[in-house]
């Protein structure tokens, strides 16, 4: 067996994943915080005020990275859900279920900060356009996956059912987006002009990209932390999990 498949096989085993992710997680958190700090400094202090939106545009530095993450997390969840359903790989089940709460958190931040940004800019907290409505439906999808996962007793069956739901959702989001866009064109005159970062200045771009990087890293840090706990619970009968639970001096991470 060549080294790539061997490596893949090893990483797919719970104790190896547990060990490797345990080593990585603190570094990932640290990296996320560092990048975020630099990006926030660049966005809040260095970047000049926007000629149209004055200083209110600075919400973009948290709103847009979280929006990107809400979609990335769902994509990540869906890929793992597919692997979990087709090949029944335990790690994929765990990763899919662990990404749901993180994705939901980013979606909630996106919706909240978007509404707060909308109030001074468009004069309204909310508008039923395609993007916002789709993001709201996305939140419901996340909550549905989380709810279904926690409603079923058997953990593996629960993960498969929730993974199935996640895959149905993946097809649904573009459909919702399209249908709301059509519905909006039907109701002309109710649309509010949206702010689009069309030509964004480089002084505003690099903090944005840095924060996007920071939130990506944070996603994986949080994902690994949750996946490790999940694996502990799932594999609590196995020796490697019990060895980790032994009350040594540093029983917590």
């Amino acid at each position: 067996m060549n080294t790539l498949t061997l490596w893949f096989h090893k990483f797919g085993s719970p104790p190896t994943f547990y060990r490797v992710s345990g080593l990585l997680t603190p570094w990932l958190y640290a990296a996320a915080l560092v990048f975020a700090a630099i990006g926030l400094y660049g966005g809040l202090v260095l970047a000049p005020p926007d000629y149209q939106q004055s200083d209110a545009y600075r919400i973009i530095f948290v709103h847009v990275p979280c929006a990107w993450m809400s979609l990335f997390a769902y994509f990540f969840m869906a890929v793992n859900a597919f692997i979990a359903l087709v090949w029944r790989i335990k790690i994929s089940e765990t990763l899919a279920m662990a990404s749901a709460p993180v994705g939901a958190a980013f979606t909630a931040i996106t919706l909240a900060t978007g509404a707060i940004w909308g109030k001074p800019m468009w004069g309204t907290w909310w508008t039923w356009d395609a993007r916002l409505t789709s993001e709201l439906v996305l939140l419901f999808l996340y909550l549905g996956v989380i709810g279904l996962y926690h409603a079923i007793e058997d953990r593996r069956q629960a993960a498969r059912a929730a993974a199935f739901l996640a895959l149905i959702g993946v097809v649904n989001v573009p459909i919702v987006h399209f249908s709301v866009k059509w519905w909006n064109t039907l109701h002309q005159g109710s649309t509010v002009r949206l702010f689009g970062p069309s030509a964004i200045d480089s002084s505003m771009l690099w903090p944005l990209l840095l924060l996007a990087l920071a939130t990506h890293i944070w996603f994986f840090a949080s994902l690994f932390a949750r996946a490790r706990v999940s694996l502990l619970e799932l594999e609590s009968g196995k020796d490697w999990a019990r060895a980790d639970a032994l009350p040594t001096g540093a029983a917590h991470e």
Partner: protein
């Protein structure tokens, strides 16, 4: 009837479900009653002004029917799950999607069709213009089977859960949103004098796909839930 063929199995499933529903035919009117109550509440809440009600009549009728259907969705598999018949269906050598298609058809027939028949009354209570009524009925005829098919997939995921009401609604909502938008959009367009055929065609296309794919998805979901 030749025993052992898939066709006879499907026919048997359909016949059984119809018979069981007939024995509790009073219950079959519950969704209609619920939709009626919802529609009655709206004028009480919004004021009796006919013009105001007429503008939102189609939307209210659709939402009332959608929610009534949602409440009735649980009965699709409940009884069969409780007495073990569902397990037998899943284990049967006949293709599960076909058997489920039969069940979903009967469920639609006994819960949604009464709602469609009641729709003219509901629309009339909200002063929907007469000219829009045919469009409303057409949209309902296309949308309600779609709702039944999509709902069946979600019910299959939550089958056997004791208090699955809110969870089911949460699962089903993202799937229902496009259906509602297109169905109500068709009525809105008709009411505004605009062409309304496009959303109806979209509904038709979605229904055609769902007729094939939903039973397959429902069968897969059932196999995951009952394992």
């Amino acid at each position: 009837m030749r025993y052992g063929t898939t066709a006879s199995a499907c026919a048997a499933v359909i016949r059984r479900d119809l018979l069981l529903t007939w024995r509790r035919r009073g219950d079959a009117l519950n969704p209609v009653l619920f939709a009626l109550i919802v529609v009655v509440l709206f004028p009480l809440a919004l004021g009796p002004e006919p013009n105001q009600l007429a503008r939102i009549a189609a939307g209210i009728v659709f939402v009332a029917i959608l929610i009534a259907g949602l409440l009735a969705l649980d009965t699709l598999f409940r009884a069969d799950y409780d007495d073990g018949t569902l397990e037998q269906l899943v284990l049967s050598p006949h293709p599960l999607p076909l058997l489920l298609a039969g069940k979903i058809f009967v469920h639609w027939l006994t819960t949604a069709v009464p709602l469609i028949l009641a729709a003219p009354l509901l629309a009339g209570m909200l002063f929907l213009p007469r000219s829009v009524l045919p469009v409303l009925l057409c949209a309902l005829a296309l949308a309600t089977p779609l709702l039944s098919l999509l709902g069946a997939v979600c019910v299959a995921l939550t089958v056997g859960m004791r208090r699955s009401g809110m969870l089911l609604a949460l699962l089903v909502l993202p799937l229902y949103v496009p259906v509602l938008i297109f169905a109500a959009g068709a009525c809105e367009a008709a009411q505004a004098g605009l062409p309304f055929i496009a959303p109806l065609l979209w509904l038709g296309a979605a229904l055609a796909m769902a007729l094939v794919l939903a039973p397959l998805a429902c069968a897969a979901a059932l196999r995951i839930s009952i394992s």
